[in-house]
Subunit: 224 residues, 2 copies
DNA sequence: GCCGAACCGTAACGTACGGTACGGTTGATC
DNA sequence: GATCAACCGTACCGTACGTTACGGTTCGGC
């Protein structure tokens, strides 16, 4: 729950201690990020959120605090439920993996995620207040921790074969994401509707099962 | 010689028309990007390059022009030779793929590439002067165009099976890059020495061959 | 040796923006 | 209805930085 945020910074992680008003302010920051990219001034934020700059500074300390709180606020909204896999057979495993993949693709192709990652990357360049770490912890690493139990359940059920869950997950990550995220971050217009996401998720999952599935339980049809 | 800085951008691609002095200036910008991240002021650049700001503006128009010229200058240096594959057998194909993968991993994990991508992504957020497009064209898409002939030669030699070279390449891209690039861009310290790159390149290649290799020519040993 | 072009170093200008101060308003508490 | 805290809107301040201007120096051509 509490996110360790580097050496300094020990803000709460989930936004649980934010007032409703503060949450609406941070939502305003989010929409502003999406609308005009990383270029948000404190004045912009104050105007959009209909609050005074003084209040912003009182609540969040400085501009960096506003950005940091916004990233964590968004992160706290993304958490999806874990898939606890009972009665896991090959079909259930495949379906769960496809769900994970589709979910992930939906997240990274959302305009909110793109804007947030851009801000965090821009910040990572200049070094202060580890937004990149927060985004990683709530994106890449969070999904890894949520997926690993499923992979290990698959292994326990003799549906998957691998030594290291982390390594297996990283391959899954690569098969699902491919070049999508970097292209989106660099401004490439990638059309990505629901149907396409579903197809990609299934393809990535079947490729993953080809690589890591036990001999007797490969995918039904290997779709290239 | 004079760089057009208009709406549409129709700059020359390679920096072939830059004078030696201009190239050293752009190299100074590159090292500055690496050293202090996206935060470079015109004064910084002028001081580091031992040139006057007036000259910078004369040569490149404005700050954006400097950044854009720098990105293209770096891009013009990255082009590596194509692999023309004669007498292609399974071993040669595998070796070429591993070379591609290792090369690519080396590039994306270099501090220059990271700095450049960060600048381009930051710019992509604000919209003006498509640095993201330039980086994509010289990174992701350039390597795609260089790899496809090899893939198609592999198919012609009945070593690979796929319908669409683009799709096959994107899977290869995902297997090679996995989460490396996004983690590096977000500031995660990923240790990545030459040995590790070699191992990753081989693993990704063997996974790719498992997925796309013809039945009779899989990888020697499937390394998970 | 003179001229002009190119360029360096630095100073100066204008503005945008982070951060602060302050008067006015709302709303809860008593 | 008096009091007080929280907050809005706006004006204000200081500075950093993009951009321009200018005096001084180097250097090739004649």
């Amino acid at each position: 729950m509490v996110l360790a945020v580097g050496i300094t910074e020990e803000r709460d992680g989930g936004g649980a201690e934010l007032t409703a008003r503060q949450r609406t302010v941070l939502d305003a920051v989010l929409t502003l990020m999406v609308e005009q990219g990383g270029e948000l001034t404190m004045t912009d934020i104050a105007r959009r959120a209909s609050c005074s700059k003084e209040t912003l500074y009182k609540w969040f300390g400085d501009r960096d605090g506003v950005l940091s709180a916004t990233v964590q606020w968004q992160a706290s909204k993304v958490r999806a439920g874990n898939y606890d896999a009972q009665k896991l057979d090959a079909a259930a495993l495949r379906e769960s993996l496809i769900n994970f993949a589709a979910n992930w693709l939906t997240v990274i192709s959302s305009s909110t995620s793109i804007a947030l990652n851009r801000v965090a990357i821009g910040q990572a360049a200049s070094g202060k207040s580890d937004l990149g770490g927060i985004v990683l912890a709530n994106g890449r690493f969070a999904i890894g921790e949520r997926l690993k139990p499923l992979l290990e359940a698959g292994r326990a059920a003799h549906l998957l074969t691998f030594d290291d869950a982390e390594t297996a997950f990283r391959t899954f990550f690569g098969l699902v994401g491919r070049d999508v995220q970097i292209r989106l971050l660099l401004g490439d217009k990638v059309s990505f509707d629901r149907a396409e996401i579903g197809r990609d998720a299934a393809r990535a999952t079947d490729q993953f099962l080809t690589l890591f599935g036990s001999a007797n339980t490969g995918p039904k049809i290997h779709v290239l």
